[in-house]
């Protein structure tokens, strides 16, 4: 055991920063996007995040919830979270009024990998609320868009009213992306695809599979079959990445809640190479 100054402890990972709700926007049924700002300058200055990371949003009396950042804009300390109201904390978040304060710890997790220099095609696969942590990837890709790189966004939802960020698809297309949405259940007004997301991968034009990468977030079964479809199209296993979800309590690898096989999702993920989770995804109740 080493001896250090017992009266000089490290900064507690439980340190919580106050943030204030600035705006909300209804997205799909039960899903909304909230924009927060730090109350204190120094907290804003310290905060730096990357696509795919998450924060612990804290409603005193209700608890914390791990919510990914759905926008990561450069030179902005605005915190953008797209939230599905499903539990105590997220339901409380849905009732927050503009100007109300809550707490934040973060950012946590590894985030999506850097896009390699030789990438030719990025396929982004988002199912339901799973598109939220992928939107920063899409936006950053399109901001730095170069003609030699392709972006395909595949979006799945239960029905067309559940298609997240549907009002942004056209602007992504205008910026150069291919966006294909599919729904499980059609309705009279829906003119798009019907069926599961992985089936869309079968039909994509993939010119350089070796230089194609796939980022997926959504139900585990959707991610697994998307990977299988991608492998069938000769996309290398190492180029396939999943963002995983488990219950999180501490976000710092101390509480054991988010364990998945050999990983804590909070500190080892949430983004994993397909190879590292493929076997684990085949076992029920892990």
């Amino acid at each position: 055991m080493t001896t250090t100054q017992a009266n000089n402890p490290p900064v507690s990972p439980w340190t919580t920063a106050p943030i204030i709700l600035r705006s909300t926007k209804a997205e799909t049924p039960g899903v909304f996007t909230a924009e927060f700002e730090f109350k204190c300058e120094q907290d804003a200055a310290r905060f730096a995040s990357r696509p795919g990371q998450f924060n612990m949003l804290y409603c005193p009396g209700y608890g914390e919830s791990a919510i990914s950042l759905s926008r990561v804009a450069a030179n902005s300390s605005t915190l953008v979270h797209t939230i599905r109201s499903v539990g105590d904390v997220t339901n409380r978040l849905a009732r927050l009024k503009i100007g109300e304060s809550i707490g934040l710890r973060g950012p946590f997790g590894n985030g999506w990998p850097d896009i390699p220099d030789d990438l030719r095609h990025l396929i982004v696969v988002g199912g339901g609320i799973g598109l939220a942590p992928l939107r920063p990837v899409i936006e950053q890709f399109l901001e730095n868009h170069v003609a030699t790189r392709e972006l395909t966004v595949l979006v799945g939802a239960r029905s067309c009213e559940h298609l997240l960020f549907a009002d942004e698809f056209q602007s992504w297309r205008d910026a150069g992306a291919t966006v294909i949405a599919t729904v499980d259940r059609s309705s009279p007004e829906w003119k798009g695809e019907v069926g599961v997301v992985p089936a869309l991968i079968d039909r994509l034009n993939i010119g350089n599979p070796a230089q194609t990468h796939l980022f997926a977030c959504g139900p585990e079964i959707m991610m697994s079959y998307s990977a299988t479809a991608a492998l069938d199209r000769d996309i290398p296993r190492d180029n396939i990445w999943f963002s995983m979800e488990r219950h999180m309590n501490c976000a710092i690898g101390h509480c054991g809640r988010c364990q998945f096989g050999s990983h804590f999702i909070c500190t080892g993920g949430p983004v994993f190479r397909y190879n590292d989770v493929q076997q684990l995804l085949t076992i029920h109740g892990l």
Partner: protein, 366 residues
Amino acid sequence: MTSPLFLPVAELPKLLARLLELGYKVIAPTIDQEAIVYSEIQSVAELPRGWTDEQEPGHYRIRPTGNDRYFDYVVGPHSWKKYLFPPLQLISRAISGEDGWTFETCNDAPEKLAFLGVRACELAAMKIQDRVFLEGAYVDPGYQQRREGSFIIAVNCSVASPNCFCTSMNSGPRCTTGFDLALTELDDGMLVEVGSLRGQDVIEPLSLQAATTQHLKSAEDLYANTVRQVSKHLNTDDLRNRLMSNLNDGKWDSVAERCLSCTNCTMVCPTCFCSHVSEVPSLDETVVERQRKWDSCFNLDFTAVHGTPVRNDVRSRYRQWLTHKLATWHDQFGESGCVGCGRCITWCPVGIDLTVEVNAICGGES
């Protein structure tokens, strides 16, 4: 460090007095509710002198030994994690004011604790929890302060229970590292090994004599005798891979039929570290305390995602516990999460023995 010293049995109170004089709160084995448990002591009279514990799967009793030894027992339901990683700990506080919520972390200066009677397997357990709370991506400041502030007096085991398998886990029974002082209880006193400068400072004023060759020989005999008493064995060869390649084995159903999912094994385990944070508001809801409490992977709501538990049957929860402890712990922390103390076997209400389950699930009996 220095060669072993000898503390005559009549002078044990002096060691305790010295610790108290230095401001330590001394935690040691005591007898409470018919078990040997760790508690604060003021006098050596509170130690379980003349008592031992009798352990089998699902069975624990204390009984008189008929001798005058202080430390002639194995381990009880407590472990030192209750002091280093308290079962209930205030971690932060939210305060509501006119200008919204403000937040403060709570990290009160820990008490100065001296642990008397730490077993070799418990020293190993502390090192394992260090990996979790000190050596990962984030440091737990409270754990760090308590760990560094604690003075550790190990006591070598003179007996082993039928549930002990420290020899399989390379964690005992002999204390070799991680202590300030280590004692070996002989007929007429204690052999004292000094493990740190801090230990040296504590023992110095007692002006102890060097141990004689006879003392050293008696101690060696005691170590050898304890090793001989360890009868349980866990074959750890390639254990990680053997377990991980049998995750879908039907034998998990057999243990799931017996396991009550009561969490006892995780509560008594000296390395289990699962926790959750509870919100504790004041009546007027202007102050909310956040309390971290021990939790268990055997609890149904432990893995609830969107209200639905991922591990929704006992089979998956027992499998999580066993494979984490003996297999994936290696991937995460570079070593096994088990020290072979046998507590999970003794305190299991239905006497499930993890060494037996491992053999049933993936073979390897030897």
